[in-house]
Amino acid sequence: MADIVLDHVYKRYPDGTLGADDVNIEIADGEFIILVGPSGCGKSTTLNMIAGLEDISEGELRIGGARVNEKAPKDRDIAMVFQSYALYPHMTVRENMAFPLKLAKVDKAEIARKVEETAQILDLTQHLDRKPANMSGGQRQRVAMGRAIVRSPKAFLMDEPLSNLDAKLRVQMRTMVSKLQQRLETTTVYVTHDQTEAMTLGDRIVVMKSGVVQQIGSPQHLYDEPANLFVAGFIGSPAMNFLPATLENGSLRTSLGDLGMPDRVRRALEAADAPREVIVGIRPEHFEDAGVVEDHVRARGSVFTAEVDVLESMGSDKFAYFKIEGEQAMSDDLAELAADAGTADVPDSAGQLVTRLSATSQAREGERSEVWVDTDKIQIFDPHSGANLTSKDPATANA
């Protein structure tokens, strides 16, 4: 086991584009870290560089304190799980799992023991003599995991290992991966494009975009204190709502009406020397049906009235969708997020406000409803740089 350090790492392609642009990540021994971002953000490139499958153009990669830039994958002592599982089709499950040990010239009895032991952990014992072609997706996935853990490497690298599974199985496997990692306490770098996976699995998350690290932090930290519009929009489902706003006389003028500014926000904006035109970000759960909010709570937020466009009742709570009148929040980050989510082409999706109300809400489709906003939780962004002006996190102020 070991820590992994990426020290000012660059990946420059022959055509001049940067696959990774000054990536700095310190992964502690035994940590489970997630690289997340839209496709083409450089997360897989970064993983492949750690694996040794791609060359590092500049910077240094240290595993367990030693520089490994020039080492071949086999000399780095790390195991990898691939999206396609990459099981050897001509070998049985047993042979697949024994393969890395055989290459490492472990003696036969030891190989047999380790394979049996690993198969037990992964519940594969009765499948050991089958070929991968005759197995289900979940079983193949477990074999791929088994091949990685059987040799107790310094670190695991996982490249979207669950994305070929159907939704239900993915949730089950997610729990399994999480438990397995806690049990083995092996440093793990896990790449995914699915923010839910990132939130549920990782000790820390690295959000990337266009080869640049946007923010590194625990899932809760990224959720509560996103460094910029991109992270704010990427983390969380349903996504944060963004509204253009104007700072005027100590309040925020938006298409929903004027929102009051708590002291926290006011001080942060002053400190950041905020422009007049900003973007307000509000998560869906920071709305509530005004009718169910107690008076003393209601006083610390703002209330607006609008017609409910669509209402979805989930049982535990209700999602109410409102149409936003007037112009929409515009920024490069938001455009990129929309492109990644594929919503750029869906009419109306951008002009929609998503709110999550309690199940007792009386809101009805097509009727006007009073909605309360918890202004204490709002985030204010600079529309040009995308930076979060209200973040308390000094480390992310420059991102």
Partner: protein, 319 residues
């Protein structure tokens, strides 16, 4: 990538992108990969170059000599006189014409028949496996064997085909009829190969597209000419290029069927005769070089006119 050999040479030097130069040294893995690549290719490259490049250069050298194997002592440098002798000889031009006729006619027939055969094999609802198996026989059979079969078939008093002709006719001894038989033998043997290549192209035409065309009101002929053929263009070009070059080298069939008598010899036949009947290595080599040039021109023509791409040269080993 096209077949231009100059571009090929340039491409090799371009492999080293300038970004990499002067940057960090290649990692161990990368260096090992390059070394392995070169070592694995070396034997193939050495053999191919040694057995073709050196002899063709040597052939050019030989073609500039007066070199008759019957009088080896009289060997001397003769400049371009061998070429002069060949290019002013009626034999060369006749053989050239015969070769072109055989090539053009047989490739044209093969293409039409091959396309029909490909459609049959692609669409048939009964006996698909059997048909595909059986058509491989002409492809696989030894050319000499097939040539004998045709020869015996057309020999009077012996063959079943000659028996159908009028009494006393000997088709293999007339120029036109003999050439027709040579073309028949070529077509029979290579149509299946053409059909297989075209069938592979057919498989790339999505069924949905044809259904859509049918709904849009296209008849069978229109579907073939408007949809299928344009979509098969790459496969067609590759098939035509290879078959044309192959037909231009026609030798085995002529050797067995007519020995090139009665004005049925191809250029390959002429080169062979000059070497092994006239023992004239100088003239023989000049013919070899001329055939090489002719084939190179045909290949160039195909590439320039149709933009045929080299098969397998596409995104090779892209990571």
């Amino acid at each position: 990538m096209t077949l231009d050999s100059g571009a090929l040479a340039a491409a090799t030097t371009k492999q080293e992108p300038s970004h990499r130069a002067g940057k960090q040294p290649l990692s161990e893995g990368k260096k090992a990969e390059r070394r392995l690549g070169l070592w694995l290719c070396a034997p193939a490259a050495i053999i191919m170059v040694a057995v073709t490049a050196y002899p063709i250069i040597y052939a050019i050298w030989l073609s500039l000599q007066r070199y008759d194997l019957r009088f080896p002592a009289e060997r001397e440098f003769a400049g371009l006189s061998n070429y002069g002798a060949v290019l002013t000889s009626a034999y060369w031009w006749q053989a050239f014409l015969i070769t072109v006729i055989i090539t053009v006619v047989s490739v044209a027939i093969e293409f039409v028949l091959g396309l029909a055969l490909a459609l049959v094999m692609h669409r048939t609802i009964v006996g698909r496996g059997l048909t595909r198996t059986v058509v491989l026989i002409p492809y696989g059979i030894v050319t000499v064997v097939a040539a004998f079969s045709w020869q015996f078939a057309w020999t009077p008093d012996k063959g079943y085909l000659a028996a159908m002709l009028s009494e006393g006719s000997a088709p293999l001894t007339g120029q036109a009829s003999a050439i027709a038989i040579i073309i028949l033998a070529e077509v029979w043997k290579t149509t299946p190969f053409m059909a297989l290549l075209l069938m592979a192209g057919l498989a790339l035409v999505p069924d949905d597209l044809l259904k859509a065309a049918q709904v849009d009101g296209a008849g069978a002929w229109q579907r073939l000419t408007q949809i299928i053929l344009p979509m098969m263009k790459p496969a067609i070009l590759v098939a035509l290029l290879f078959r044309t070059l192959d037909a231009f080298r026609v030798f085995d069939n002529i050797y067995i069927l007519t020995q090139g008598s009665n004005g049925t010899g191809s250029v390959s036949m002429l080169g062979y005769d000059n070497l092994f009947k006239a023992f004239n290595l100088g003239i023989g080599s000049a013919i070899s070089v001329l055939i090489f040039v002719a084939v190179a021109l045909i290949a160039l023509l195909f590439i320039k006119i149709f933009g045929a791409a080299a098969p397998g040269s596409e995104p090779t080993g892209k990571r």
